[in-house]
Symmetry: D5
Subunit: 143 residues, 10 copies
């Protein structure tokens, strides 16, 4: 443990977030995300949910303000009938602390989301149980 570092961030995760550069992406996958199969770097956070990780990560990790959509969610399949997933509200609250709002969130169709995840620098495997909880973060710059 270190002073001022949220204790949910393991040494391995902290190192990974640190070594990522501008434009690199990290996926926080839910409990059923095929993380071990798709990840270039796999970081397991069993027993944790996505919002707790998102909150901790954003304390240290800058989002990319050079692109329009530094945050990406998995598109709801039946957009006309399915409500907006509950957990997205939590994400927006967390993002708002970092001067981000909903307009900066992009949406990717499920299989496109998978293909993009395979190219990401790292995937975090949580045991989040909410639907549509997977999220991709694009790293910004430290100036």
């Amino acid at each position: 443990m270190l002073k001022g570092i949220p204790n949910i961030l393991s040494p391995e995760l902290l190192k990974t977030l640190h070594e990522m550069g501008h434009g690199d992406e990290i996926v926080i996958g839910d409990g059923n995300f095929p993380a071990a199969n798709y990840a270039n770097h796999l970081i397991r956070c069993d027993g944790h949910n996505v919002p707790d990780l998102l909150e901790a990560i954003l304390e240290l990790f800058p989002l990319d303000t050079f692109v329009n959509k530094p945050v990406t969610l998995m598109q709801v399949v039946d957009q006309q009938n399915e409500p907006i997933p509950e957990i997205w509200h939590k994400y927006k609250n967390i993002l708002s602390i970092h001067q981000m709002d909903g307009s900066q969130i992009g949406y990717e169709e499920r299989f496109d989301f998978y293909e993009r995840s395979k190219r990401a620098y790292a995937i975090i495997a949580t045991t989040e149980k909410a639907l549509y909880a997977n999220i991709i973060l694009k790293k910004g710059v430290i100036s």
Copy 2:
């Protein structure tokens, strides 16, 4: 994730608990325990406390009923003036679910506890903040 397996148990931890045999020991260390330094097998559970892990582990892991003290805690340094650590009550409650009571808990002086940890099969690194939270479990038999 698997049916009926507590989601706090990572694939690596589950494998480790499984491959241990009768008499092998596992340490659940608190957030300041020098786990990376002492462990033969290190399993990190950052962001978790000891009672949650203990509870999940004991669902699958049998304690050794052939010895008098299958559970070991780190002795309070100043036993006359320090109260019994709060977290021990939680441990006893969890143990009681598995037909264990306080008489089956042994106590090891701090540096003896360290030496014994170095010989353990594995050490789990949590970020538990309570004092005197380190605990050693000796595996029993599946019959």
Copy 3:
């Protein structure tokens, strides 16, 4: 060994089943299946047959209910003259315990089956001697 875990599931197999995600596939190959050649992750279960493994795996491993055919068998070559393989009846009995019936089984021509196996997350090598005993399972979600 662990409480409540079928003893045919090795630590390595248990870890593998655990780390798979929604949509990942695992093949249980018979004794002549070229498992070592095709597998991304190879898990040997020498001395065991497929039904015993299938039964044990399904105690912990959810099948994918989002697709029509979460289970796949290798198509009988001469479908007009060859009888339905005996061992498939065993599979259907085991699947029925998990609310699956024959309509949820797909069939893949031999070489297509091989190609799909190469993309699977893992292949289990048994020493099953029955013909047409190879089977692919697609993992579902834990909710």
Copy 4:
């Protein structure tokens, strides 16, 4: 699989038995034996019992006829009151096929048995549930 090789012997186990030399020892441990902790070479045979492995191994593996006791069992703790373990009769039947009788079996006290296992060339982890089922075999010569 190979012609004439019992299918319970995995490629890894077959290789291990082959590369052992005169005087090297192999332990077949029961389901609770701390095999992963003690083994120089660990070979897992989850789901199998000791007699099936013993029988298959002795088809290929010569016992040492230069020493008095090429086979070693773990001594019954309370020799006066505990009956001879049932499984030992099976062992003697299997050994008799290979011209070995009870006089060629040695007995080692539990902790001595452990220490000797740590020096063995390999340990096989079964999921045998019988008590006193651990057995050490000393390899003989092929002439």
Copy 5:
């Protein structure tokens, strides 16, 4: 060494033959075959010739009876003027012990033979000096 296993088969070669499945191929290359360059698994048998290895391998290794040509030789370049290589007679004698005759031998042009070797499960490097001595064996089933 093991009872009944030809002593020319090393532990590594025995393991490799064992873990191959139906349809997998193994090449026995002569002393000038670029085995180290082409092999997925390389097994060196320096000081040995091909017939001795072929004879020993076929004691344990079933040939594929589901295909027309489970055995493949490298085509003689100038088929009109070059005699049939002497060593092929030895091969046919060895094959005849296993109910195989010349009609079950296929021939592959030199560079096609090389490409096929690169896809084989393993290549054995001998120091055979005869010309046209390279041979590919396709594994059959153990039933």
Copy 6:
């Protein structure tokens, strides 16, 4: 790079500081310290001096307040004639920011310092040119 993390701390160093526990020690060696020879974990910081690293490390790394001397320097050989090394004043200034004063610094004879370094969790190799610049830090607790 991460928000709020001094940029002199590499991902590897940050991970190392994080995974250390209470009582573990880290050495910051000068440019001539035999770091590669003695280190259990070696972290190179070529081109940097010790005070810059010390300052950055102490922003995140708690010193051990349970012992009298959480900081250790290498004893000046000729204590009567050699002046107090200039660089020690810098160290004291940096330590004072963290409520440490000179009374909490211990001194270790050169070869004792070396032996202790060999047991440390990690050694940082700088290219510091000042004499007597090596320093050992003992990690404290995060509460």
Copy 7:
């Protein structure tokens, strides 16, 4: 450390520069460059800026005089409105010491620069904060 070698050059970096040949390229990336993601060989120089590394490297590393542009910078996006980056002046000064002038510098559009970096022999990760500070060096010959 070695006589006459700038101390900012770590053993690993020195080895890398040494083993590169004529025409091989090395990238010195700024603090936000996705170095860990793109590099064939990654060399971290946390806490350092690009000019200091460039200066040290060119003491030992010959630039390629057989091509027109042995040095490459990342093109300014908005060339009409953005001024020439300050740091480029420093680069030109350093290059002038080695008989190089601005005419020997090429410019690569951002994403072309990234693709070329992925093919480079190595990437150095600095924590340089200036914009447009990334630079590619093509190695020349020692004659």
Copy 8:
């Protein structure tokens, strides 16, 4: 060292030459050849020139007499104006000892030479300073 083996041939180089087969190629690169970048197997011979290595290698290594050009040099760029490189005379003298003459040398344009080197079994890195000194040898047969 061994009896009758030129001492310039290291154990690793000797092993590499030995395990190559008919038609495999080895490159002896000059001091500026990008050997580390292109090599499948890299063998460093720092401090040596190409003729000394060529001479030693050909004592043990047969050239391919089944092809027209078992030896390949890098084509002079400006063939009309550049003289024949001095070092080629040395090569021809060394080759003549092995019954090879200039007609058996092929020439490859620089970038074709590079592409072919990437497919070679091994590349030897010398510190030869002569121009056009790179040479590719194709292995022949031992009969």
Copy 9:
């Protein structure tokens, strides 16, 4: 294969003999020697006997002429009644080619021979069937 190198010497064995220095020892073990268990470097020569290897090795490998007994055999247990092993005559014939006679052969009691083998640089595992065939060679100098 290489010109003038006996083809029984594999690339790995040749490399090992080469890298040994003055005073280093190599054991040629018979088929029952516990080579895999005792060897620092294990070299398998399955299917070969000891005299063929001894003969090939001594073509390249100098024996130590600075000691009295550069060759060591395993002492016959019952020296009074057992005849001199037949195979020793073969050894003496081979040694005589290299100006060695029986006076330069030492004898080591079985368990001393084992302990010495464990300290040897390498052990060669043959499948020699003769008794008392194990032999240790001490490397001499190339001058």
Copy 10:
């Protein structure tokens, strides 16, 4: 290759010399020195003699001026009758360039020299043929 670095120093050797610290030792062994057996880090320089390496190394590598004897040679066995080895004169000439004279050379009996070599940071294996050519260098400081 790099500007100003002697070309006999390979990238690996340069890295090793660089990462050594004050008091670390490196051995330059002759062609019969058991370098592979004794070395913690082995660096082969086949085809080179000791004086050439010594000369190149000392251009970059400072000798320890804090001890009386930073250079160590292997004692002549029969000091009364054997002349001073010729090669030592070369060493002294090379050392004199670096302000060292014969008084700074220590001598170690053969087996003591071996034991000390085993503790050295690295051993360089040359193919030097002169007797008594082994030499140990103790690294000094860069100030």
